[in-house]
Symmetry: C2
């Protein structure tokens, strides 16, 4: 595989030596997906020089693999004529994405330089929101009529597919008003007799997307049905474009990132993930502060609970030092349960119907781990503080705390889902502080009853 570190070093040296013929040879030998890994690690100046030394067709491919910030940066720095030529070499959907990320006057200046037919297609694609099926699709689709024969279709494909950079996976069958009637795979086309009519070999039960479908739904449908390409229709079942698996793979990665960031309390609803890592710092703070603020409120409740037991801490200060131990382990095992349930609900392995089964099972896991850990804590506290009653109370609190944490961590996602709140978004911080509050209350109550013989 590509050793990226040494490759970058070499390319940097060639740029520094201004040996442009060698640079061209080196760069054009890479797969554009590899170039897309190299480019972000170069400095802006190096990146521009490198981009100018990539062949135009490779530059078009490379842009497809790069993230929006680099697409706009690179096209903006090079000659407008050359930029327009490169854009024309890209699939319509990718070209529309790039132009959609530019300021309007900037994208207009490119659109005016593009071939008329191409810019018309792009303008139509730009009317769809970027995060919908319409914004993802390529509007150039090969369509045929159901009355055509296999032979006619093959001849037609030879003529059509040559002139456009059309993606060819399935052949779509439409009527004269562009209504989608069926689909034929290239495989079926090739293996059917020349005189057979298309309607005889087409499938008419079609999995399709609607132009307004959100991109996460698009990704789910691709992951579920596992097709290479799906047609996109409008409200009247008129074929508007196709979405291919390569359009979706980026979204799958984006959705995964969102799910992972959300689990740690980073909001991706208003701030793009790229911005959180490298954009305006106030936008990054905006993505991170809301759930921290909820945690702040939750922990203030925990502080209030602890405050009610200040008399106990006053009487026996050593009890306070075990607070991090109980909170830490309760929080951890509870988070494990939350993560399992939220992820299971998202993949479909966990359903509302199986809620009781999972709650029972997690409780058992919490109890069993809690018993072992409780025993360990009892023994080590006893050995360390020479205070067996303290050891027993801390250990017992550990058992109760870990069991309760798994129960809360398991029940809460189901409850959130039942009231139509996405458990992936809201679970982590709220549940973790709930576990903290409940855990502390139980611990101090047990200390008060068993060690101090009082409960205020």
């Amino acid at each position: 595989m590509l050793n990226i570190e040494t490759t970058i070093e070499r390319i940097r040296e060639i740029i520094e030596d201004e040996n442009y013929s060698q640079l061209q040879e080196e760069l054009n030998n890479f797969h554009s997906a590899d170039l897309a890994e190299i480019f972000p690690t170069l400095s802006a100046d190096e990146r521009l020089i490198a981009f100018e030394n990539v062949d135009e067709d490779k530059a078009a491919e490379l842009l497809e693999y790069l993230s929006p910030q680099y697409q706009v940066e690179l096209l903006g720095e090079i000659d407008v004529e050359k930029a327009s030529r490169i854009i024309t070499l890209m699939p319509h959907d990718s070209a529309a994405d790039i132009l959609g990320d530019m300021e309007e006057d900037e994208s207009e200046s490119y659109l005016n330089k593009l071939p008329h037919k191409f810019s018309d297609e792009i303008r139509e694609l730009l009317t769809y929101k970027e995060d919908t099926a319409g914004g993802l699709m390529n509007s150039i689709v090969l369509t045929v009529r159901k009355e055509m024969t296999v032979e006619e279709v093959l001849t037609y494909i030879r003529k059509e597919a040559e002139e456009d950079n059309m993606e060819l996976y399935y052949i779509y069958v439409v009527d004269k008003h562009s209504h989608l009637l069926g689909v034929v795979s290239l495989r079926d086309l090739l293996t059917s007799h020349a005189k057979v009519k298309i309607e005889e070999i087409m499938m008419s039960d079609i999995v399709k997307l609607h132009v307004d479908d959100k991109q996460d739904h698009v990704a789910d449908i691709f992951m579920k049905y596992q097709y290479n390409a799906l047609p996109v229709v409008d409200l009247y079942n008129r074929l508007k474009g196709i979405i291919t698996w390569d359009d979706v793979s980026d979204i799958v990665e984006e959705e995964t990132t969102e799910e992972i960031l959300q689990s740690s309390g980073i909001t991706t609803a208003v701030v793009d993930e790229d911005e959180i890592l490298s954009g305006n710092i106030f936008r990054a703070i905006r993505a991170r502060a809301p759930w921290l603020f909820i945690t702040l409120i939750g922990e203030f409740i925990a502080v209030n609970v602890a405050d009610r037991f200040e008399f106990a801490i006053h009487a026996l200060p050593v009890i306070a030092i075990f607070m991090p131990l109980l909170a830490g382990l309760g929080g951890n095992i509870g988070t494990q349960s939350i993560t399992l349930m939220v992820r299971g609900l998202s993949t479909g392995q966990v359903t509302m119907n199986s809620a009781l089964h999972h709650i029972g099972r997690e409780m058992l896991v919490g109890l069993m781990i809690g018993l072992v850990f409780g025993l360990l804590v009892t023994l080590s506290t006893w050995g360390w503080q020479h205070h067996i009653e303290l050891g027993v109370v801390v250990g017992l609190a550990m058992v109760v705390n870990m069991t309760l944490a798994t129960i809360i961590g398991t029940v809460a996602p189901f409850m959130l889902k039942a009231i139509k709140i996405d458990p992936a978004v809201a679970s982590g911080p709220v549940i973790a502080t709930t576990i903290d509050v409940v855990g502390l209350a139980i611990y101090f109550s047990m200390v008060s009853i068993f060690l101090l013989g009082v409960l205020k």
Copy 2:
């Protein structure tokens, strides 16, 4: 879209009424991916009745979409002859996966009933480990020689693809010893002149996989290059099979699940994710206990740190009640930083080269959020406890704690990666307890210095 709840209800009723002709009609009208969503929600008895009423070719498709436990369950319950027929209708790689999940004598009994050629292919596939490219690939590939013309290849495809249920995306070009020489897309084949030789239109720079490549590497390569299918070769570049995007989509989901579970301290190295949710409970505990145990040790260190300041708690018990607040917020913001870095390193948006940039940026985020939250904490503590010095110390500890938590959470993943430890596996629990320990030490030190005027 499919409304799964009502659909299941209807199917259950039809099964209860023993109206099998209606059941057959209903079930065979569903896409097999939809059936695969319905089946796991049925009871084992209902599932078997439903499976027996699905046409054999649809049953073969359905099995491909189901998870291993249901595949083995359903095939084991039906007539062996019928099961063998259904297996023969599946692609070789899927059939091999199912048979590989069975006990050896059970899979042998099926293999002996399958057509000779088919069972030989399966036996070869079974020699590869399930989680490698060899275990994922389909060994039936259409290959041609570079001297053939486009016309000859098209005739050959018509003949070959018809008899086997072969997946047809690209045509692979090999020499007489099966060495992989190039690849031709169906599109290029269809749009080229009939008399052109294959070697003139084939691409010879081929992205390929090796039979022993691990499945997570396979998924990464598919996500990076965004091809629909990739060839798999052995050590000597002999073509052994192809992997298609639908084989990989399950793995992408599996890898995502692993990444998410790992982030909450659940080990997926020895225990399969399915087992954690619904297998043997001791296996589930084995997946969850190791990092909890590390947390236990870490929190005992935190307890020890707190113990060194028992004199401070003794002198001023109220300081103890703020421990959950500091630990909770430090832990949360630190976890956000860990998650951002670990995910960024995994997608390539964060690299070792950009480490310093991210450390600086995260520190700034931590400091800015810390300042706001510190001020809030100072004001509310002052208002609540009427003790301004206490408010200032707690607030100041909050600023330092949150800033340090982001620094530790950012630096640690880079350090782990530098010493070749996967930060996704080890980060969470270790870093979180480190943040707890450091945070407590700082808080109690500040209390001792500023409130008590001592530092033991």
